[in-house]
Amino acid sequence: MEMTIAQGIAKAAALLGAGVCMGIGALGPGLGEGFVAGKACEGIARSPENANLITRTMLVGQAVSESTGIYSLVIALLLVFAVKV
């Protein structure tokens, strides 16, 4: 509760940064993973005999796309909990 105005503004900037970081950071992975899964549905419909291969590739591709979402989460949590002013 005891905080000078300068400390308050600095911590406020860190929290706003955490919000913007996770909010905009979730945009790319969400869109990209949706695109991968949409194309996987197309592939499975066209060649159902390769369903296992396509599902496996889809999951690997989505896991790689997810990485930037996880980076955003880590940075957001660091900004919320680890920044001391």
């Binding site: 509760m1 005891e2 905080m3 000078t4 105005i5 300068a6 400390q7 308050g8 503004i9 911590k11 406020a12 900037a13 929290l15 706003l16 955490a18 919000g19 913007v20 996770m22 909010g23 905009i24 950071g25 979730a26 945009l27 790319g28 992975p29 969400g30 869109l31 990209g32 993973e33 949706g34 695109f35 991968v36 899964a37 949409g38 194309k39 996987a40 549905c41 197309e42 499975i44 419909a45 066209r46 159902p48 369903a51 396509i54 599902t55 889809m58 999951l59 989505q62 896991a63 997810e66 979402g69 996880i70 955003s72 989460l73 957001a76 949590l77 919320v80 909990f81």
Partner: protein, 250 residues
């Protein structure tokens, strides 16, 4: 303490932002469904009752985001919040509630619209499988709307659990806490944009493919579920960060 006029400004701005931003998305999403339905009727005039039913149901579900925003706007305007605790925390909570549900409904509504439009196109191609396609469309739209519900929950939390200002709180602390509440609205608002429209893309492609290869319906639906679940993960991260910003900042 702030004057009631400033709290009223936050209420009005929040209500305006929530309804206006979400109605942009509702217009685009539902217009896309209607456009695809009209296009499909041109090709298959015999299926016009099935297409009309599908269009209507799809538009109703895409409208959910607009209705959530309208409910939050009404709560902001008419639940007498200006008679409650008057502090800068109230001002930023109310503004953040409007931003959360307004921005948060854009992605899910666009996603549901794409899913519904592709379902109409698929029914135009294969009118005999209209029930299968419509069932898949409803599931896909429901998956896409989940992140919209996250935004609604955060918005209701922001309206109904406004923290009080403890005795002896410094101005610096109030600035920090008010910014945290505003950031929690921004994070869930932007965070549902990608997952909502991504899941809509999955559901739309799945509807299209069920229309082309109806025999593969089960495999396509399974892939759609897995893909949508993985796409949802970043919306869940956003929800976690948003709840932390509301409740964990002391």
């Amino acid at each position: 303490m702030v004057s009631p006029e400033i709290v009223k400004i936050a209420m009005f701005l929040g209500a305006g932002i929530s309804v206006s931003v979400s109605s942009v998305a509702c217009g685009i999403g539902e217009g896309y469904i209607a456009g695809e339905a009209v296009h499909a009727m041109m090709k298959q005039p015999g299926a016009n009752d099935k297409l009309f039913r599908n269009m209507f149901v799809g538009q109703a579900i895409a409208e959910t985001g607009g209705i959530f925003s309208l409910v939050i706007a009404m709560l902001l305007l008419f639940s007498g919040l200006e008679n409650g605790v008057l502090s800068w925390l109230t001002v930023s909570s109310l503004l953040a509630a409007g931003i959360a549900v307004g921005l948060g409904s854009v992605g899910p509504v666009l996603g549901s619209g794409y899913s519904g439009g592709q379902a109409c196109a698929a029914i135009g191609r294969q009118p005999h499988h209209a029930n299968d396609i419509m069932g898949n469309m409803l599931i896909g739209q429901a998956l896409s709307q989940t992140s919209n519900i996250f935004a609604l929950v955060v918005s209701l939390l922001l309206i109904y659990s406004i923290p009080g200002v403890p005795a002896g709180a410094s101005l610096g602390w109030i600035i920090m806490k008010a910014t945290a509440l505003l950031a929690s609205g921004l994070v869930i608002g932007f965070g549902t944009l990608g997952p909502g429209s991504g899941i809509g893309n999955v559901a739309g492609r799945a509807n299209d493919m069920i229309g082309r290869y109806p025999a593969q319906r089960k495999t396509i639906m399974r892939t759609m579920f897995i893909g949508a679940a993985v796409s949802e993960s970043t919306a869940i991260y956003s929800l976690v960060v948003s709840l932390l910003l509301i409740f964990a900042i002391k």
